[in-house]
């Protein structure tokens, strides 16, 4: 069902925790679901050469990124027997402790939901043109690279 309507993945600013509760609540009427698997990315106060990250400023090649998100969704629905999948990724300056990624999949069975969320997270990290400027407390920065 969700499969057919491509939705925008990017949101401006951090993802509020309430969004997670709302997403879950919205799925309580889908009685073929037995398992939800959720992944949340949170900005970490990494230390680099004695300086601490205070925020990451995310930018993206938005048109391509939304296209790639859509391709990842299509691949996930082809690969896993999931009933729904939702992804949200932040753009803009996200402070330490705040959420920048929210992946949410649902299935009749736990293993499928867990595997699908894992697939989404790895694919997003590897394939989506999103760029992150790690900003230190002294306003200097470095560019984040996914491993």
């Amino acid at each position: 069902m969700d499969k057919k309507k491509p939705k925008k993945v990017f949101v401006q600013g951090a993802i509020p925790p309430e969004k997670i509760a709302n997403s879950v609540a919205n799925h309580q009427s889908k009685t073929n679901i037995g398992a939800h698997s959720i992944f949340l990315g949170q900005i970490r106060a990494d230390e680099v050469d004695g300086k601490t990250v205070t925020a990451i400023d995310y930018t993206a090649y938005e048109e391509m990124a939304e296209k790639v998100f859509h391709e990842i969704r299509e691949a996930a629905f082809a690969k896993f027997d999931i009933t729904c999948a939702h992804i949200y990724h932040s753009l803009g300056k996200i402070k330490v402790g705040k959420l920048c990624l929210f992946v949410f999949t649902s299935s009749a069975h736990r293993k499928i939901a867990i595997a699908a969320t894992n697939f989404f997270v790895e694919e997003i990290k590897a394939k989506v043109p999103v760029f992150g400027k790690e900003i230190f407390e002294d306003e200097t920065h470095q560019w984040k690279v996914n491993k």
């Binding site: 990315g41 990451i56 090649y61 990724h89 990624l101 043109p129 760029f131 560019w143 996914n146």
Partner: protein, 78 residues
């Protein structure tokens, strides 16, 4: 022939621009264009910069008039 070149992340920072329209005659592959655009820029690892042509990763293709070329530093999503 005109192509639009988009710069992102550390490439945009090093080039101090996010987009430009380039005109040229003759044949040019995406990777030749990349080399030209990055020439002289202070980027430590130019090999890590990927090229998308019309939103598909591709460095082999020969560019056509109107193409949108993007220079993409390492991804950092999620």
């Amino acid at each position: 022939m005109k192509v639009t070149v988009k710069y992102f992340g550390l490439v945009a920072e090093a080039a101090d621009k996010s987009e430009e329209v380039m005109e040229f005659n003759g044949e040019l592959t995406a990777s030749e264009l990349k080399e030209q655009c990055l020439y002289g820029l202070s980027i430590a690892d130019k090999d890590s910069v990927q090229i998308a042509v019309n939103q598909n990763l591709d460095d082999k293709t020969t560019l056509k008039d109107g193409d949108e070329v993007a220079l993409l530093p390492p991804f950092a999503g999620g």
